[in-house]
Amino acid sequence: MPLPLRTPAQPETPRPDRESLIAALAARQLDRTLTTSLAPIDPADETAIGATNIPSLDAQLGGGFPRGQLSELVGARSSGRTSMLLQMMAAATTRGELVALVDALDMLDVSSAAAAGVDLDRLLWIRGHVVSNPGLCRDMNQRAMEQAVRALTLVLQAGNLGLVVLDVGEAPAEALRRLPFTTWLRLQKMVEGRQTMCVIVGNEPMARSSAGLTVLVGARQADGASGFSPKTDVVSGFSRTKTVGKFSDRLFEGFDLTARVVRARMRQYEDSVASFSTAVAHHV
């Protein structure tokens, strides 16, 4: 007759306190998902924050875009995302930083960059081969997209650049969707712990949970409202907001825009909206 099994008494494990739990979550990068207790970033700390030099936006972001994180600048065509990007690049070069722009579709207008105040000598411009309308050459376009991501990877590996931008603003959606999702996670891992701001410019959010900050740029309504309803835009996949430029009798004068933070590691910044206007440099 077999003897009944007797299990030894399990020692009672101590319950982890809140700090150790948060530290363990942070180590596995689950801190944002389950808690909101990230330490605040000092807005005056230039090693942690890169100002965009758009005062209203910087105020809403607690000083600017975070360094060491993958950020997204999202907007439809003519939403003002490029104007905002060039302003960020100008701010970075003014601080003495080097900027790399992986221009996947080769659409940078050099005159616009100079008019925005970008110090062109500090700009490393990598011109990609992606086309917005690949026709029958979709595979070639896909290779060009992967080439652009590879170039971004090389730039991030080199390190010590203040701002690194991947501009896929007019890229076909299927080319972006065919990129493995791990691409963005890998990029986030590469930029972590560095003093580099990595910004992806696109029509819609791509990096999802890998993104530290996602800013949606769109039109400002005539009554001053933000132009998008915060809840529905996030859920419904960032519906395009129509942007209406300001036209006078003889001139196009610019846009009235809003930038809304739709995702941020620091949750107190989420859903904050900044308004700003753009003006045309008439020699561009």
Binding site: S56, A59, L85, A116, L124, K242, A281
Partner: protein, 497 residues
């Protein structure tokens, strides 16, 4: 070879007045003395040597200390030499010829240091120039007088004496135009010397060391992986020699001997002086990946053009940049990935052509200072408190940008009765178009039409003649479109974004 980022030029002149024993032995001792301090020295006909002592201040100390050290070394070799140190070769030479001991001319005060010296010193300089031919006849390399070397000073001195000029300072103060009218180019050349200015750079008597290495392979190799081992073996001793001489590689020349008896040659211009073996090997391999040899390799030879080493002092107050090694490797990798013409720094060009630009190589050797005003502005921005969910609208502080289509997109544009676009459509997916809700224009531009009949019909050299419009469509997009007046065709040129 000169690197502007290095310390300013500094020369020491050591002159041994004629002794009882032969001048040749004194000259040899001076050469030994010069070699003890710098490999860059210039021997002259009289027992005089000019040494390039730039950078020695980090090793020895101030110019006065260097002068004292030179004097001590000369005394140890049995010489009682005149020693002078100045920022220009000429000032050092004149000071050494004029007075014993150690003389140091302050930076920028060379003319003042020479001013009290009698103009008779020019005779000694004249002898020095004339004796150069004697040394050349004996096989000693001496600087060849260039076309600007003045003719014998006797005639000039005689005139100056008649004018009552006694010192170099008085001579230097004479109006150059009037002097040239009376004494010609020779008079001007002597006046430049009297001001202590150099008319030519230092010509080292010892030829620059060549940094080259070659290896004959017992068995031919194919592929770049085995070649990397060979390159490492060649680069390591070269790097050690470069480090010993405080030199870096400015250019890299690779010559591969092929089994077909052909030679595969590649040259790489490096953006900054490098001597790191891994970096040099990576750059060489990346270039050979892009330009592979046509056959197996049985000989590898490397030649390096040396340049003075780079002195880099990091500060706590400026943001760190990629090191030149990292940057060189990055640019080489990007060039191999994207194509050399696809990476660089954009630059504006002096042209009214829409979208005109040029690409320059990316370099960070020059340090540009950040604008303090902008910096303070950004700091202030960062400190603004977040006080509401929707901020107040800031003034127009962002410049509207364009996203330019390098190849304009052909479009169909319906024009209203007043000649204004009312509908824009294209066949390009993603540029569907729509009805025009607002538009401004036309802005007529034309240019370079005079080049349309030349042989070069490339896009960059063609003329243009067009009417531009900025149009807002009912889908919210704003485009810059234009009508080519020669073909009446419409194109979308850029997206206003």
């Amino acid at each position: 070879m000169s690197d502007p980022s290095l310390a300013p030029a500094l020369y020491a002149c050591v002159y041994q007045p004629p002794l009882a024993d032969s001048a040749c032995s004194a000259a040899n001792v001076l050469t030994e003395l010069a070699e003890a301090f710098s490999p860059r020295y210039e021997r002259h006909g009289v027992p005089l040597v000019i040494i390039d002592i730039r950078g020695l201040d980090r090793l020895i100390g101030s110019p006065s200390t260097i002068g004292g050290e030179l004097r001590r070394e000369a005394a140890a070799r049995g010489l009682r030499a005149h020693i002078a140190i100045a920022r220009t070769r000429t000032a050092a030479m004149v000071l050494a010829l004029s007075s014993p001991g150690v003389r140091v001319a302050d930076a920028g005060q060379e003319a003042e240091a020479l001013a009290p010296i009698s103009i008779n010193i020019l005779e000694k300089l004249d002898q020095d120039l004339a004796s150069g031919s004697t040394l050349q006849a004996r096989g000693v390399p001496v600087p060849t007088p260039d076309a600007r070397s003045p003719k014998p000073a006797d005639a000039v001195l005689a005139v100056l004496t008649r004018w009552g000029i006694r010192t170099l300072g008085e001579f230097a103060a004479l109006p150059s135009a009037d002097l040239a009218a009376r004494l010609g180019r020779d008079g001007l050349a002597w006046q430049v010397i009297a001001r202590g200015e150099d008319t030519r750079p230092l010509v080292p008597s010892r030829a620059d060391e060549r940094f080259e290495s070659a290896l004959e392979l017992e068995w031919p190799i194919e592929g770049l992986e085995p070649l990397s081992f060979v390159l490492t073996r060649l680069f390591e001793p070269l790097s050690t020699r470069l480090e010993a001489r405080d030199r870096g590689a400015a250019a890299l020349h690779i010559e591969l001997g092929l089994v077909t008896r052909e030679r595969h040659q590649r040259s790489l211009e490096l953006p900054s002086p490098l001597r790191d073996v891994r970096t040099l090997r990576t750059l060489a391999l990346l270039d050979l990946e892009s330009h592979p040899p046509a056959a197996a390799i049985d000989r590898v030879a490397i030649t390096i053009d040396p340049t003075p080493g780079r002195v880099l002092q990091h500060t706590l107050f400026t943001r760190p940049h990629p090191t030149p090694e990292q940057l060189s490797t990055l640019l080489a990798r990007l060039g191999a990935l994207m194509g050399q013409d696809r990476i660089g720094t954009p630059a504006q060009v002096d042209s009214y052509r829409p979208g005109a630009f040029e690409m320059k190589p990316f370099a960070i050797e020059r340090e540009l200072q950040p604008q303090s005003s902008q910096r303070s502005r950004s700091s202030q921005n960062g400190l603004q408190p977040k006080n509401s969910a929707v901020s107040a609208c800031s003034a127009a502080d962002v410049t509207t940008a364009l996203r330019r289509c390098r190849q304009p997109v052909p479009a169909r544009v319906a024009v209203g009765g007043d000649g204004r676009p009312v509908r824009v459509t294209t066949d390009r997916r993603g540029f569907a178009g729509g009805g025009v809700t607002a538009c401004v224009g036309p802005w007529r531009t034309s240019g370079e039409w005079w080049q349309t009949n030349t042989r070069d019909r490339s896009h960059a050299s063609e003329g243009w003649d067009r009417d531009e419009w900025d149009v807002a469509l009912n889908d919210g997009a704003v485009y810059r479109i234009f009508r080519d007046r020669s073909t009446e065709a419409w194109f979308v040129e850029a997206i206003v974004d």
